[in-house]
């Protein structure tokens, strides 16, 4: 069963065709990786799926409903969680409060249930020690974790992650892999953009490669990575 689909998506900025007839489907419980060279349009695709950018044409469906014209807040409440590539924490609030925003608005929890959920999410994302810190004092990588924690706290059916693993040490990356595997095991569909391919491969069961606004490969991860076009466009020499 598919939860999230995008069909015939186009997005232009002036002359630049950032998304050029992109199609995308995600089945329930699937873990999908997206790779592609810088500027390929990965983040833009995520933006279109999450609702922060409206496509010039094409439709986005969530669980069968057309949500192309719905704003991000509506999509979030209907089950799309999203972590930004460049973290956007609520700087004036504590880490805990950041997560509670997701838990109360996104997941619709109230009172103690929200608090319990928030704490659980913080524990999962290894942020419990920083719960009372103002988010603006976090370093980049903690911000990335917070970005993910907030998205997880909204209780999503589909979780869209944008480069949350970059800059992690091997051990930290391993923890992240465990966390995301748990989420997938819990039935959440994960769509994950990441350049650190070996980390990505530990989680995803499908890989999409984009280049210049087009999907150039989509399928079983190792097969995609062996694809000559992908090697050429993305991995470069020496791989």
């Amino acid at each position: 069963m598919t939860v999230l689909t995008g069909t015939g998506l186009h997005k232009r900025y002036g002359n630049l065709h950032v998304l050029d007839d992109v199609g995308f489907t995600a089945a329930a419980g699937e873990a999908i990786g997206i790779v592609g060279p810088n500027g390929a349009g990965k983040t833009t695709l995520l933006n279109v799926l999450a609702g922060s950018v409206t496509p010039d044409s094409g439709t986005v469906r969530l669980g069968g409903d057309d949500v192309t014209r719905s704003g991000p807040q509506i999509r979030c409440r209907r089950g799309i969680g999203r972590a930004h590539q460049i973290p956007r924490p609520f700087g004036g609030m504590t880490v805990l409060e950041n997560v509670l925003v997701g838990a109360t608005y996104g997941a619709g929890l109230r009172g103690r249930a929200a608090h319990r959920h928030g704490i659980e999410v913080l524990r999962r994302c290894e942020l419990l020690d920083l719960a009372d810190r103002r988010a603006e004092t976090l370093g980049l990588l903690h911000r990335k974790r917070l970005e993910m924690a907030r998205a997880v706290a909204t209780g999503p059916r589909v979780l869209l992650l944008d480069e949350i693993g970059a800059g992690l040490t091997d051990a930290e990356a391993a923890e992240l892999v465990t966390t995301i595997r748990d989420l997938v095991a819990a039935g959440i569909t994960v769509v994950w953009i990441e350049h650190i391919v070996h980390v990505l491969l530990q989680v995803v069961d499908r890989l999409i490669c984009m280049d210049a606004g087009k999907v150039i490969a989509d399928g079983e991860p190792t097969a995609v990575l062996r694809d000559a076009v992908v090697v050429d466009a993305y991995l470069g020499k020496g791989r």
């Binding site: 999450a50 609702g51 922060s52 704003g71 991000p72 807040q73 979030c76 409440r77 999203r82 930004h84 956007r88 924490p89 609520f90 700087g91 004036g92 609030m93 504590t94 805990l96 409060e97 950041n98 509670l100 925003v101 997701g102 109360t104 608005y105 996104g106 997941a107 619709g108 109230r110 929200a114 608090h115 928030g118 704490i119 419990l128 719960a131 009372d132 907030r150 998205a151 706290a153 909204t154």
Partner: protein, 325 residues
């Protein structure tokens, strides 16, 4: 491990505030006219400060045009009183009307951001002032007095105005407090810090901003109506004047932006400075300006940043119950 919202000092704080409110309610019985009148002015300042802080400090809506509602509340009262609505009822209705005005304006001004919002709201206020000037039944540019209150003796009038101001103040403080304690508070702060990110977490950005704007409109209107009841004469240029924003800015920033307690402190300070030094004419104003500058430079987070305790239980912390948790 659990999330806690109040610790002991904040419980004591709330209790003290409630008791203080009750004591204040008895003031007209026991104190001389001057105390009653001064406290009324103080309450009005506090209302203004609290409302502006709610807008700017929690919602990130830096409005330079809240005087639109002050003026509307005041002129609304005059308008209703001219139609034989009992004056104190008119005050109440005018505040509600200001909230309605805010709801009408919200779709227009809330599309603006940052500097555009600031200047846009200011221009809206000026436009309203000019419209009032054009209306001769409201006194046009001459200004107008609220005469209906002369049916009360001075003591009654003072006491009623006082109680009304206190009631509005308590109501608005409670509203802001409840708002901040409910999830709305967190949602608003999220919008203030990053609107797009808030939206992507499911916060209904527009609805919340509009709600806050309407509340602030109500508060501004109430303040305006009370100003009229307290001073009895208004004139468009000053009641719609941008100096109100300057005062609110002063009180809120000097007290502490985005804190519940800061604006209360700021209003108290502003009022005190005015009370004690206003007789020094130009020197007083220079002093006021220097105070503003000094706070901006040396204590930018405001007076409340000096006080470390949390007086009122807003905000969340994590309490670790035991090492084993």
């Amino acid at each position: 491990m659990r999330v806690v919202r109040s610790d002991r000092s904040s419980r004591i704080g709330s209790a003290v505030l409630i008791v203080l409110g009750l004591i204040l309610a008895t003031v007209p019985q026991f104190f001389v006219a001057t105390v009653v009148q001064q406290l009324t002015s103080l309450f009005i300042f506090v209302i203004l400060a609290v409302m502006w802080n709610a807008l700017a400090g929690y919602g990130g809506l830096v409005s330079v045009g809240q005087q639109a509602f002050i003026g509307f509340g005041a002129y609304g009262t005059v308008f209703l009183a001219q139609r034989d609505v009992p004056p104190y009822l008119a005050v109440l209705l005018a505040a509600v009307a200001s909230a309605v005005l805010a709801a009408v304006l919200a779709p227009l001004v809330l599309r603006l951001r940052g500097g555009q919002f600031a200047v846009g709201t200011w221009v809206v206020a000026e436009t309203l002032a000019l419209l009032v000037v054009l209306d001769h039944s409201l006194g046009g540019g001459t200004g107008i007095s609220l005469r209906g209150l002369n049916v009360f003796t001075p003591d009654e009038r003072r006491a009623y105005t006082y109680w009304l101001a206190l009631a509005f103040l308590v109501l608005l403080l409670a509203a802001v407090f409840v708002l901040l304690r409910s999830r709305t508070g967190a949602g608003l702060q999220a919008i203030r810090d990053d609107e797009e990110a808030a939206a992507s977490l499911g916060v209904r950005v527009w609805r919340m901003k509009a709600g806050l704007y309407v509340l602030a409109g109500f508060g501004g209107g109430a303040a305006g109506a009370l100003i009229l009841a307290n001073t009895l004469f208004i004139e468009p240029r000053s009641i719609f004047g941008v100096q109100w924003t300057a005062y609110m800015l002063f009180m809120v920033l000097v007290g502490g932006l985005g804190t519940f307690e800061g604006p209360l402190l700021g209003a108290l300070l502003f009022f005190g400075v005015q009370y004690f030094f206003a007789d020094y004419d130009a020197w007083y104003l220079i002093g006021l300006g220097l105070t503003a500058g000094a706070f901006a430079l040396f204590l930018p987070r405001g007076l409340w940043s000096l006080v470390q305790v949390r007086l009122l239980p807003v905000g969340y912390h994590l309490r670790r119950d035991g090492p084993g948790d």
